[in-house]
Amino acid sequence: MNKKLMMLAITLMAMASPMLAQGNAAGGDVSNGTRLGAAYLAMGIASGLCGIGQGRATASAAEAIARNPGAVAAIRVALILGLVLIESLALYTLVITFVAK
């Protein structure tokens, strides 16, 4: 399973290399196509990993509530705080895709 994922990742990156053959647009030393492709890839990775992290946080919180229903208020605060902090990591990537020149 791990070897298949590795092969898939390498194949995807190899297939993306024709982007480098495009001519230079007015945006500096990377062409616009490369910039967009990198933005899609970065955002995809960031959102995927953020999803995994938030899923684990929510699963832990649900299990904790099931074990100890009296502590729901405290667990809710911890859950919301954790989810928002993880979310902000994906948002940093989004901002960079808009801001980077």
Binding site: V77, I80, L81, V84, E87, S88, L91, L94, V95
Partner: protein, 242 residues
Amino acid sequence: MHELWITKIFNDNLAGLANGVLNAVHVPAANPRFPWTDWMVCELIVVACMVIFFGVLRARLSVDNPGKAQHVMEIIYDFIHASSEEIVGHEGPRYLAFFGTIFIYILCLNLIGIIPGFDSPTMYPMVPLAFAVCTFIFYNYTGIREHGAGYVKQFLGPFLLLAPLMLLIEVISHFARMLSLTVRLFANMFAGEQVYITFITLTKVVFPVIFIGLHTFVALLQAYIFMLLAMVYVGGAVSHEH
């Protein structure tokens, strides 16, 4: 240059006033013919509405016969009071004015973007930066007021040997808090607006309504989270190690 209808009214009539004020503090406007920016005008409108609302509410406060607005504000007040006691500790409600202002002001600024003729000021990166800088200054101020010069001991870590390394790491992480507060609020509001624009262009009718709903929910959540993080930072600054 694209500007809202109300910014146009301000720029046509009050441009002299804005240029005068900006030049007096040596920060000339980016475009002197249009000194009023969208976010400045919307902020002023929100401030005016809030001052009028709370002024009228204050005049009509009554113990025996509270109206609906007083009920709602009492619920919000109790909520913030309970949260601050739980997170900051016993001294939490001393700082309730700051937390309450942060929560209600950011909430109103986020929500005004839903009304068609107005823009959320929090969609522009300068406004969340202002909130983050104010929060940074506030929690350091409360820490210094509580601990005096001993406030610096928090940054030094468990052993004196590790102090230089810990100081560097702690200072960087405290500045990163300002960055993360700014980027979180800005990116949520900005991304909400971009997604809404995309869907308005793509499918003109049913789906944008779902995104307005999402924007409202995110507005509430982000205002609550900003207040929660401000409380956590103040709690970290004033906490006494037992």
